[in-house]
C-alpha cells in the first residue's frame, strides 16, 4: 500500500506541481508581455500625438507670413533684399566658365574651389 503511494503518487504529485508551476509562470509572463504591449501602444499613441503637434508647430514656424515678418525685422542686419526678376536665370543661360591656370595645372586647385562651393548645410521642408 505505502510502496504504491511512494512511487506513482509522488510522480503524479510532482507532475501536478510542475504543471501548476509551469502554468503560473506562463500566465505571469503573458501578463508581463501584455503590460509591456499596453505600455508600448500607449507610447506610440503619445508619439503620434506629439508628431501631430510638432507638425502643426513646424508649419506655424514656417508660415510665409511669419518669415516675411522676420525678414522685415532683420533685413538691415542681414542685408536682405527682394529677388529681382533680373536675378533669376537658369544654368543653360550661364556663359561657359573660363578655365584658369589652376584648373589646368592640377586637381588641387579645382578640389579646393569645389569644396568651397558647397557648405554642407542642408535645407528643406518637412519630410513626409
Amino acid at each position: 500500500m505505502s510502496a504504491i503511494f511512494r512511487t506513482t503518487d509522488v510522480v503524479l504529485i510532482a507532475a501536478m506541481v510542475a504543471a501548476a508551476a509551469f502554468t503560473y509562470k506562463t500566465k505571469y509572463e503573458a501578463e508581463n508581455q501584455l503590460a509591456e504591449l499596453n505600455r508600448i501602444e500607449r507610447q506610440i499613441r503619445l508619439e503620434h500625438d506629439s508628431i501631430d503637434v510638432l507638425k502643426a508647430d513646424w508649419s506655424l514656424l514656417t508660415q510665409p507670413a511669419r518669415i516675411q515678418r522676420l525678414v522685415e525685422n532683420y533685413k538691415e542686419q542681414l542685408a536682405l533684399q527682394p529677388v529681382e526678376s533680373t536675378q533669376v536665370g537658369s544654368i543653360s543661360e550661364l556663359p561657359q566658365r573660363q578655365l584658369s591656370i589652376e584648373d589646368l595645372l592640377g586637381r588641387d586647385g579645382g578640389m579646393r574651389s569645389a569644396a568651397a562651393a558647397t557648405d554642407g548645410t542642408t535645407t528643406g521642408g518637412i519630410g513626409r
Binding site: 503620434h48 501631430d52 502643426a56 506655424l60 508660415q63 507670413a65 533669376v88 521642408g125
Partner: protein, 573 residues
C-alpha cells in the same frame, strides 16, 4: 417561511414553561422531518449566495479595470489634414488636453492649488479654491492645454486631478487661406469652404459609421500654393489699407488647367477664432460677391465681335459722337472723338466703340456668347460659396449696349478670371478647381468657346494694352504681362455714382504663351495721395503687378528680357 415556527413554539412553551428540555425534546421529535428540510433549505440559500458571489468575482475578474472617474465626453470625429499643393499643412487635427479635478479625492487643497499655479500662473486662485473645496465629483479646471503644460502638471503628481484629451481643428496659416479652407463647427463638421466640400464627398457618412479613424484618412491636397496665397493675401491687405478701400481681393488662376493657385478677399476672418466669420462684410468676394465688372468686360465684347467673323482687327468703329438711346447718353471716359480701330477701342477702353461692336453682333448673339463663356450661369466648382450671376430678364438693345462695357449684368470676379483664361489659353473654357489637376484632365472637360484665331487676337490686344494702353502700370520687367483695366461706377440708390468705383484688373502672363491669370479687385478705393487718380490702373493694376513680381518665380515662370516688344511680333499674324 421562517415566521411559522415562532407562533408554534410560543404555544408550546406557554403550555409547559417549567421544563424547557422536555419541550425542546418534544418539539424535535414532533418536527423531526421539518428540521431536516429547514437545514437543507438554509444550506441551499447559503450555497446560492456563495455561488452568486463566486460568479460575480469571476465576472469582475474578467472585466477590464474601469477608467478613472469623470463624465464620458463626446469623442469628436477625425478629419483628414488639408495640405497645399506642396504638402504644407493648411488644416490639421491636434489633440489638446483638458484638466479636471475630482474634489473628493484631493487631499490638500492648498498644496494642490499652489503646485498648479506654478504651471498655470494665470489660474484664478479664489474661483479654483472654491471649486476644489466643493463636494462635487468632477470639475473642469482648464480647457485645451498645450502638451508641455500637460506634462508639467503630470510631473507635479497631485492626487485627484487628471486629463481628458479633446480634438481641435487647427489652421496654422490663420486668415491667409481662410476663405478657401473654410471652417468646422464644434462637432468637427465642415460648415464652409473646402472643409464643407470634403464632408459632402463622403466623410460625413464615414464619421457616422465610426470608420473615420485618424490614421487611415489621407490628407486632402489642394491646388493652392501657400507661398503664392500668402503673397496675394499680403498684397491685397496692404492695398486695402493703402487705397482705403472697403474691400480688395485677388485670384491667381492657371490658364491651362483651371487650378486656382491662390485666392483671397479682405476683410476676412481667422479660422482659429471665427467669431466674426458670418458677418456679411467678410464674405469671399471673389466667388460669392456679385459685381458689375466694368471695362474688363470689354475683353469679352471684343472677343465676341472678333469671333463672330463680322469684325477683324482692322475694322473701324465711329466713336466720335456719344450714343443716345432712350434718355441715356453713352460717353467715353478717355474720349478721342474720332473713328477708332478695334485695337484702339480696346486700349482706349472706348464705351462707344464697345457698344458699336456689340451692335454689329446683335442682342441675342451677345446674350448667347456671355452664357457660353460661363459668365452668367452659376459656376460649378468645389467651393460651396458661389453666387449666381444676375442679368436682365429680357435683353433689349439698351441692355446689350451697356453690357458691352460691363454695366447691367453682375457676375463674380472668379468667373471673370475663368472667362479671361478661356481667351488666353486658345479658346477653351475650363471649370475652375481647388484640387490639383493636370492639363490632360482639364482638357477632357473643357469646351471650346472661341476660335483659336480669336484667342491669338485677344493675346495681342492684352499685350498691346500693357504696352500702350491702360495696363502700362502693371508691367513687370521680364514677365511679359498683358491685361485690361476696369473702372466701374457703383450703383448707389439705383443711380450710378460719380465718386464710388469698383475697380478690377485682369492680367495674363507671360504673354508669348500665357500660363496664369491674375485678377485683382478694389471696392471703393480712394486716391493713394491727393491729386492721384483712383482708376483701376492706379490701384487694382498696382496690386496685380506686385503679385506677379513677387510670385512669378514661385509659379515657375522664367523671366526673359528679349521679348519686351512681343505685342508687335504677335501682331504680324
Amino acid at each position: 417561511m421562517r415566521m411559522w415556527p415562532l407562533p408554534f413554539r410560543r404555544v408550546r412553551s406557554a403550555a409547559a414553561p417549567a421544563d424547557p428540555a422536555i419541550v425542546v425534546e418534544g418539539a424535535r421529535k414532533s418536527t423531526g422531518g421539518r428540521a431536516r428540510t429547514r437545514m437543507l433549505m438554509t444550506m441551499a440559500v447559503f450555497f446560492g449566495m456563495y455561488g452568486l458571489i463566486a460568479v460575480r468575482l469571476v465576472y469582475f475578474g474578467l472585466l477590464d479595470p474601469a477608467a478613472d472617474g469623470g463624465p464620458a465626453i463626446h469623442i469628436q470625429a477625425s478629419r483628414p489634414d488639408i495640405v497645399d499643393r506642396n504638402g504644407e499643412v493648411l488644416a490639421t487635427d491636434i489633440k489638446t488636453a483638458s484638466l479636471f479635478a475630482e474634489p473628493r479625492r484631493i487631499v490638500d487643497v492648498d498644496e494642490a492649488l499652489e503646485k498648479l499655479s506654478s504651471v498655470l500662473p494665470d489660474l484664478d486662485y479664489e474661483q479654483t479654491y472654491h471649486k476644489l473645496k466643493s463636494e462635487a465629483g468632477f470639475v473642469w479646471l482648464r480647457r485645451q492645454l498645450t502638451p508641455r503644460q500637460e506634462a508639467d502638471i503630470m510631473a507635479l503628481g497631485i492626487p485627484g486631478i487628471g486629463f481628458r484629451t479633446e480634438k481641435r481643428r487647427f489652421y496654422p496659416s490663420g486668415e491667409t487661406a481662410s476663405h478657401i479652407v473654410g471652417l468646422v463647427n464644434i462637432d468637427n463638421q465642415g460648415i464652409a469652404g473646402m472643409e464643407k466640400y470634403i464632408d459632402s464627398q463622403g466623410l460625413a457618412d464615414l464619421q457616422q459609421t465610426g470608420l473615420a479613424v485618424a490614421r487611415d484618412l489621407r490628407p486632402v491636397r489642394l491646388s493652392i500654393d501657400l507661398r503664392v496665397q500668402h503673397i496675394v493675401h499680403d498684397e491685397i491687405a496692404a492695398g486695402m489699407e493703402r487705397y482705403r478701400a472697403i474691400a480688395t481681393g485677388a485670384v491667381v488662376l492657371n490658364v491651362k488647367t483651371g487650378e486656382v493657385l491662390a485666392m483671397a478677399s479682405v476683410p476676412d476672418f481667422d479660422p482659429n477664432n471665427p467669431y466674426n466669420a458670418h458677418e456679411k462684410d467678410r464674405l469671399n468676394r471673389m466667388s460669392a460677391g456679385l459685381y458689375e465688372m466694368g471695362s474688363t468686360f470689354k475683353s469679352f465684347t471684343t472677343a465676341m465681335a472678333l469671333d463672330s467673323g463680322k469684325v477683324t482687327l482692322g475694322s473701324r468703329f465711329d466713336a466720335s459722337v456719344p450714343i443716345r438711346i432712350g434718355n441715356q447718353t453713352i460717353h467715353d471716359f478717355h474720349g478721342k472723338g474720332r473713328v477708332l480701330t478695334v485695337p484702339e477701342v480696346f486700349i482706349y477702353s472706348s464705351n462707344i466703340g464697345s457698344a458699336r461692336e456689340a451692335e454689329t453682333v446683335g442682342v441675342e448673339a451677345h446674350r448667347e456668347f456671355l452664357h457660353r463663356m460661363g459668365l452668367l450661369d452659376r459656376m460649378k466648382t468645389e467651393l460651396p460659396e458661389v453666387a449666381r450671376p444676375t442679368e436682365p430678364k429680357v435683353w433689349k438693345q439698351v441692355h446689350s449696349i451697356t453690357i458691352a462695357f460691363g454695366h447691367g449684368v453682375s457676375t463674380t470676379p472668379l468667373q471673370t478670371a475663368v472667362g479671361s483664361a478661356a481667351l488666353m489659353n486658345g479658346g477653351y473654357l475650363i471649370e475652375p478647381t481647388f484640387l490639383p489637376r493636370t492639363q490632360e484632365e482639364a482638357m477632357q472637360t473643357a469646351t471650346r468657346v472661341v476660335k483659336e484665331k480669336t484667342g491669338l487676337d485677344m493675346r495681342y490686344l492684352y499685350a498691346l494694352n500693357a504696352e500702350k494702353g491702360s495696363g502700362r502700370g502693371a508691367r513687370v520687367p521680364g514677365y511679359r504681362v498683358g491685361g485690361k483695366t476696369g473702372t466701374a461706377e457703383k450703383v448707389v440708390n439705383g443711380r450710378y455714382s460719380k465718386t464710388l468705383n469698383f475697380n478690377a484688373f485682369v492680367a495674363a502672363f507671360p504673354m508669348d504663351d500665357p500660363q496664369y491669370i491674375v485678377l485683382t479687385i478694389a471696392d471703393e478705393p480712394k486716391p493713394e495721395k491727393p491729386g492721384m487718380g483712383a482708376t483701376a490702373a492706379s490701384n487694382a493694376g498696382v496690386m496685380a503687378a506686385n503679385i506677379i513680381r513677387r510670385s512669378a518665380a514661385l509659379l515657375g515662370v522664367q523671366p526673359e528680357f528679349g521679348h519686351e516688344n512681343a505685342a508687335l511680333l504677335v501682331s504680324t499674324h
